[in-house]
Symmetry: C2
Subunit: 227 residues, 2 copies
DNA sequence: TTAATTATGATAGTAATACTATTATTTAAA
DNA sequence: TTTAAATAATAGTATTACTATCATAATTAA
């Protein structure tokens, strides 16, 4: 699988391709685990440099600032997820089954290849849940969007909305339903674990309830109405 | 209406009650418009102090740091929204109508009293859309939760879930559906205006489409299944 | 083969941010 | 009227987010 070696990252995300050197790879992989460990707000290039054993300035040669590094990591994940959805739904003929598989992937239920050469996918998943929205909830969103920084997320949204259309061609909100599904897969997980009274899964804290909620929500919305 | 004068704010949000002095009120009202204008990341106490004509240290007497001020502002909004939902659904007998009114309030469609003594509600609404999730998407979420900092949001969620139960007592995910509705009212608005291809409303950018999407989504989910 | 160029990383800064400690002034109480 | 308490201003410090310059290694050109 050629993709697994090199997901094509947007060149605007970095100054120097981190995939082309050992130090670059360390910046991304150690950066991922450090952001997961201490959170994006307390994360600094200085701490990461100390962790790797290099200097701050070296990191600045690869990434303009820490939001670009976060965006690189987040984009990497959306690329990976999009590939997983494509790969695991491709051979299915039933749109119903495709949707269920997609929800399983989003809620981390499918036992797919969770090992990657550099980046720890468990850390990555945690980062997506707690930090990913910070890359677009800024005053730069329009400029960043012009530079195509959010393409991987859009591609995933587009792929999922295509499956929805396949299931019910007359449904009018396939894209909004796709973003709802993606965002809620992560938000309900976060709420369940941190603010449980905002969900109905607080007593058990089992991700399978999030999955069941999503299945119920999405298929209810997509069901063809007889009116 | 006693509430309109003094929404009871959690005392852990401030060091000195900003509602008890003119300068305190200015910190909150000018803070709101400045955060809306430049965004939370670029917002600093120094800029706010200059804007008001006081010094940084004075603001630090009222608020520990800028995230507490944001949380104060966000909590104020959830208080206000909860009151609006309560007030505008109280006299209704039909749960169906209550849900529709709540969606109208969330999507800013109802022409309610949008003037407040101090805080500009238009600014506040923008802040909720772009910045509100930043108060809980942190490593402090559990500690902050123990100090009850998220009560106003939880109260709103609880009120809405009660309406859902009233509409369909057998629905099993009323709280998760309430958070989905609240979050999506804001996220779809943000996406529509900033990353339109993530929604189905990009061509028109009219909030009424978000409302229609939510009405469709929520009533589909709540509909009693005959199985 | 050697000099020149380029790439890479380290060192040493600066401006801004996020606070804190101390001092001055006003207000209120005894 | 003196004392105490509350409030705000001044003047700091440590950290963060970078930037400019320097040193060295690797690559290329003469």
């Amino acid at each position: 699988m050629e993709w697994q070696l090199h997901p094509k990252m947007n060149e605007k995300l970095y100054l120097k391709d981190p995939d082309q050197s050992e130090i670059g790879k360390k910046i991304v992989s150690n950066g991922t685990s450090l952001i997961r460990k201490i959170g994006y707000e307390l994360f600094t290039f200085k701490k990461l440099a100390e962790d790797i054993g290099i200097t701050e300035a070296t990191i600045y040669r690869y990434f303009e600032n820490k939001i670009k590094l976060l965006n690189y990591i987040v984009s990497w994940y959306w690329h990976w997820l999009d590939y997983q959805v494509m790969f695991n739904t491709n051979n299915l003929t039933d749109a119903d089954k495709k949707i269920k598989v997609t929800i399983q992937i989003l809620t981390w239920q499918l036992d797919i290849n969770h090992t990657s050469q550099d980046i720890n996918l468990e850390d990555l998943h945690e980062i997506i849940i707690s930090e990913s929205s910070k890359v677009y909830l800024t005053k730069n969103v329009s400029e960043d969007n012009k530079e195509q920084l959010f393409m991987p997320y859009k591609n995933l949204c587009s792929r999922i909305s295509q499956i929805f259309i396949e299931y019910n061609p007359s449904y009018v909100y396939p894209r909004s339903l796709a973003t709802t599904m993606i965002e809620m897969a992560h938000y309900q997980d976060f709420f369940m674990n941190n603010l449980p009274s905002l969900t109905d899964f607080g007593s058990e804290k089992n991700i399978k309830h999030v999955r069941n909620f999503l299945v119920d929500l999405i298929f209810s919305a997509l069901e063809k109405k007889i009116s």
